[in-house]
């Protein structure tokens, strides 16, 4: 019974932890402009993140070491250094976006200026990182993030023409007035949002934090293969709500406040409040994960002592790097930069950095020296190779598309 509960908890936290500010904003923008015609990208992204998260979890469970430690050892300091530079920069951008997301969600609930919420949000993130146990932290924010299921409830309550929505999914086409370049720009952004690099660093380091062994491989697979696809359905529900309510009115999503309007229309103030709490939890959880990922990548590259399972004083540089990352994030946001713009930038640049994150994972997962008889099978390698091509295409296309479309405008 206890084991079953553990499995259910793992899956639920994977669902609740899947959506972050990048998914929220990008899916709502896409839903309001392109309907459900980009759902196929979410599906491609979810399969990709399942594939690589499973690999990195397996690497951690089998070797007892996090992905980044092995990447440096296996590929040398130069290649790992390039990986570190790209991953840390994207992590920082994503962390900034998540703190901004918390502030915007609290602004939405309270009408108090988001700039006043930014330091409060960062302080709360730091306190949790400092004081709360890893498993409690992961489970609480993951379960609260499940409240985003309110978007799926809202979609059903709105009573849309399901045939029309299914047609948008099955036969993707450009809505009138939209340009093909914008469509592909958002396709890359959605892909970047679904496959954000911090997720795999957090996943593999989290496996070490929770002291996974080979015995946990089946739980790893179940969490990833059930939790992430269900989390992907939440993303589709967010796009669906925007497609049903905002798109017919010609409303283009440019702020978090617009994202909750379809929910309010469907379920009134109660459902809207549930979803706002879900947004705070999802962005807060992602801020914790990205802050941790910043500490993990730096500490694992430089060989510092790391992990929340250690007493703070035993992993001082790991904790200090998280504090510095948080302060940098707050500093960027206090320049009055629009958090939504930071979010849009973070998902696009995530797409650019994807190859640097995922190529080394595929290399390590195929190394029998680390993996023994748990190296990738044929299916994982076949899919991994296909995804490397997709990831490379997305990385190459991201910046030209951003310039050509004025970031999708």
């Amino acid at each position: 019974m206890k084991k079953l509960l553990g499995l259910a908890l793992g899956i639920l936290t994977a669902i609740g932890g899947f959506v972050d500010i990048g998914d929220l904003v990008t899916n709502a923008v896409v839903g309001s402009r392109f309907g459900l015609s980009l759902v196929w990208v979410v599906a491609v992204g979810v399969v990709g993140i399942c594939l690589f998260a499973e690999m990195s979890g397996r690497v951690a469970a089998v070797s007892g070491r996090a992905t980044f430690e092995i990447i440096r050892e296996r590929l040398g300091p130069r290649a790992a250094g390039a990986n570190l530079a790209a991953s840390f920069a994207i992590n920082l951008l994503t962390l900034t976006a998540e703190i901004g997301g918390i502030a915007l969600a609290l602004h939405l609930a309270s009408s108090i200026e988001p700039r006043l919420w930014i330091p409060v949000a960062a302080l709360a993130v730091w306190l949790v990182l400092w004081r709360v146990k890893f498993s409690i932290m992961e489970n609480v924010v993951g379960l609260l993030g499940l409240l985003l299921i309110g978007f799926a409830v809202a979609l059903f309550l709105l009573g849309p023409d399901w045939g029309e929505l299914a047609a948008q999914v099955a036969r993707p086409s450009l809505p009138e007035g939209e340009h093909a370049a914008s469509y592909w720009f958002y396709a890359v952004a959605l892909f970047g949002a679904a496959m954000t690099p911090y997720e795999v660093f957090f996943f593999s380091s989290g496996a070490v934090e929770e002291r996974w062994t080979r015995k946990d491989l089946s739980q790893n697979r179940l969490n990833v293969l059930t939790g992430f696809p269900l989390g992907g359905l939440l993303s589709v529900a967010i796009a669906g709500c925007a497609a049903v309510v905002l798109m017919p009115r010609g409303i283009e999503v440019s702020s978090l406040s617009q994202i909750v309007l379809p929910v309010a229309q469907a379920g009134g103030t109660l459902l809207m409040a549930v979803v706002i709490v879900g947004i705070v939890a999802a962005t807060f959880g992602a801020a914790l994960e990205t802050a941790l990922s910043s500490g993990y990548t730096l500490a694992q590259y430089f060989g510092w002592s790391w992990g929340k399972f250690r007493r703070t004083v035993r992993a001082a540089r790991f904790h200090l790097s998280m504090i510095v990352a948080l302060l940098l994030g707050v500093g960027i946001l206090m320049t009055s930069v629009d958090p939504i713009a930071v979010t849009e930038m973070s998902v696009v640049f995530s797409a650019v950095a994807l190859p640097l994150t995922y190529v080394p994972i595929l290399v390590v997962a195929n190394d029998p020296e680390y993996m023994g008889d748990h190296v990738n099978g044929r299916v994982a390698n076949g899919l991994g190779s296909v995804y490397l091509v997709i990831v490379l295409l997305a990385a190459v296309a991201a910046i030209p598309l951003m310039i050509a479309t004025g970031a999708g405008s």
Binding site: L108, S111, R249, S254, S255, S257
Partner: protein
């Protein structure tokens, strides 16, 4: 050539380039007629989206499906969008009479939309219990606020239809 000499030459070339750019630079903000038309259309679409968002917000608030805090935030966000639309039009340098006329009409429509959205925000504040002076022309009820928004929306749609 020594390293110091090369550095001095590079520095002199850089200064000369900057002086040339400063003294002979041309105005780069002037646009082609097609670009100007697209910029006006883009600004009007932004304004239209802001007005529609505000209309939806006021309607939901009137139906008790939205809290005042969320409504206030949603409308404040749209005022920011309208400021962006207005800035896009005011910084446009029209290359011909048609573009100049389209920009002037666009500015009028965005100003009307801004007034309607600002009035809707005042209505939301009064609905939440704030004591406001009548000099601010606060709509008496939700339908009055929506009427103002509808009029602004029609003006924008008419211009978008012409384009």
């Amino acid at each position: 050539m020594t390293g110091g000499g090369r550095a001095r030459r590079c520095g002199a070339a850089l200064i000369a380039s900057l002086l040339t750019l400063t003294l002979c630079g041309c105005v780069a903000s002037r646009q082609q007629p097609g670009q100007a038309g697209a910029a006006v259309e883009s600004a009007l679409e932004l304004a239209s989206s802001a007005v529609e968002t505000t209309t939806l917000t006021v309607t939901l608030l009137d139906d008790d499906r939205l809290t005042s805090a969320v409504a206030d935030t949603a409308i404040a966000d749209q005022i920011g969008e309208l400021a962006d639309a207005s800035a896009a039009l005011t910084t446009l340098v029209p290359p011909d009479d048609d573009s100049a006329s389209a920009r002037a009409d666009g500015l009028d429509a965005v100003a009307q939309a801004t007034a309607a959205v600002v009035a809707a925000r005042a209505f939301v504040a009064r609905d939440a219990g704030a004591e406001l002076s009548d000099a601010g022309e606060v709509p008496a009820d939700a339908s009055a606020a929506v009427d103002l928004l509808d009029t602004a929306s029609e003006a924008i749609d008419a211009l978008l239809g012409q384009g």
